[in-house]
Symmetry: C2
Subunit: 229 residues, 2 copies
DNA sequence: CGATCAATTGACTTAGCTCAAAGCATGTGG
DNA sequence: CCACATGCTTTGAGCTAAGTCAATTGATCG
């Protein structure tokens, strides 16, 4: 557990509060394809130490395994260092599915906050992360409301480039950690439409793909143009 | 100012911390149609005391007045008691537009949190409200991603009924505080499509409308069925 | 009461979905 | 190390829900 403390929003990893939090946090690892469901606790706070995961809203019946169900929506993709709040949504459960092997620390939200109650810096960091999540979720709302398929895909690859390899301009190569189906769910499109948009962007010289997951963005600024306002 | 303290997440309105917060909070009122923009401060915390407002993401050029611009998306509607976090989004400013005359208290987020730093209850309440906003924003993402126009409109009227008059079942009448255009923007549809869905729901006996804003839901449970999972 | 702007309705267009088939990665077993 | 099987991914053809454009109706306010 100790080696994962860096994933927590704690200034000094050897402080007393760090010990107390580690005592109530549950270390979990998921193999690629496995899912973490809220289960008994309906309100979890998860810190990702290693790996990639998708936050999924299951609107249909709950299935054990992580396999993509057609009626799912992907609410967000998550990366190391991210904090994720998992709460039930009206009319559907939420779960975190591993896209790769994932290491994480899981808290019951209330228990975490009780323990950290007198540590303003920690609570505030959690608040900042939650406002940041809200901001990203709002961007998604705008995207889903007013953007075309091409704009969504362009904006998606730009945002993933930033999050997986820190690139915000010029060219860059990386591996997409998720399938076309995951991308489609997350953008509110179908697999076929996503695939067609990749093809079009490739024909327009904005990116290349290599195999299922390899991707090279040739000009991030041009892709941002395509992504629209 | 004192009479609006009840809008703040403060247990005891006459406590010292309440005084300190009131000292840094700015009381504002907006007339119907006016807008509050972040302006110099890029990170505001707003507590609505009275009235209805819409949180708008301006993706196009910034216009002074609140008049609906075609390229706007409405991120959320807000009601008395709501806390709203206004932060800039990548590629577009966010503002709060009054749907009716509105009374509110505005804080710079950092200043608020600094002042409340040693008041766990307050910070925690702010965190809870922000997680709740995240939850609503996620519901919206699901809605925009996978729901038909009819499902969106049905789900919209149900949620407004709950928020403006607390009704969650049976029948209920109220006035919609926003125009068809606002509803359309908020659901990622066009005015015409929203209007057609109201017509269809009326023909199906699920609701009636009276004038521009009057609405009666005849059977909230049936509307929830229409709204889908 | 009439002017004005919101809401509705209609006709037509289109982006993206659906269904269906073919092409490729990727991993497994010989 | 190569062949094959599996399941992603791409491509194609047609359809449909929702958008666009345009005209009409209706509400609201001076």
């Amino acid at each position: 557990m100790a080696q994962f403390r860096s994933a927590l929003p704690i200034g000094d990893p050897s402080s007393a509060i760090a010990d107390r939090l580690c005592a109530i946090g549950q270390y979990r690892s998921l193999s690629k394809g496995d899912a973490l469901r809220a289960g008994d606790l309906d309100n979890l706070l998860v810190f990702i130490a290693e790996g990639y995961a998708k936050l999924v809203a299951r609107t249909g019946p709950i299935v054990d395994r992580a396999a993509s169900h057609e009626s799912d929506s992907i609410l967000a993709f998550h990366f190391p260092g991210d904090m994720i709040s998992i709460v039930e949504l009206p009319g559907g459960s939420v779960c975190l599915c591993a896209l790769s092997d994932v290491e994480m620390i899981v808290f019951d939200t209330d228990q975490f906050l009780d323990t950290a109650a007198n540590e303003p810096a920690i609570i505030r960091s959690v608040l900042a992360k939650s406002l940041h999540a809200l901001q990203r979720s709002r961007s998604k709302v705008i995207q889903m409301g007013h953007k075309s398929a091409r704009q969504r895909v362009a904006s998606f690859v730009v945002s993933i480039a930033e999050r997986v390899c820190g690139c915000t301009r010029g060219a860059c190569s990386f591996n997409l950690p998720m399938s076309r189906g995951d991308i489609a769910d997350s953008l509110g499109l179908t697999i076929e439409t996503v695939s067609r948009q990749f093809t079009d962007l490739r024909l327009d010289g904005l990116l290349s793909t290599k195999g299922r997951s390899g991707i090279t963005l040739h000009n991030i600024d041009a892709l941002k143009q395509e992504a629209g306002p």
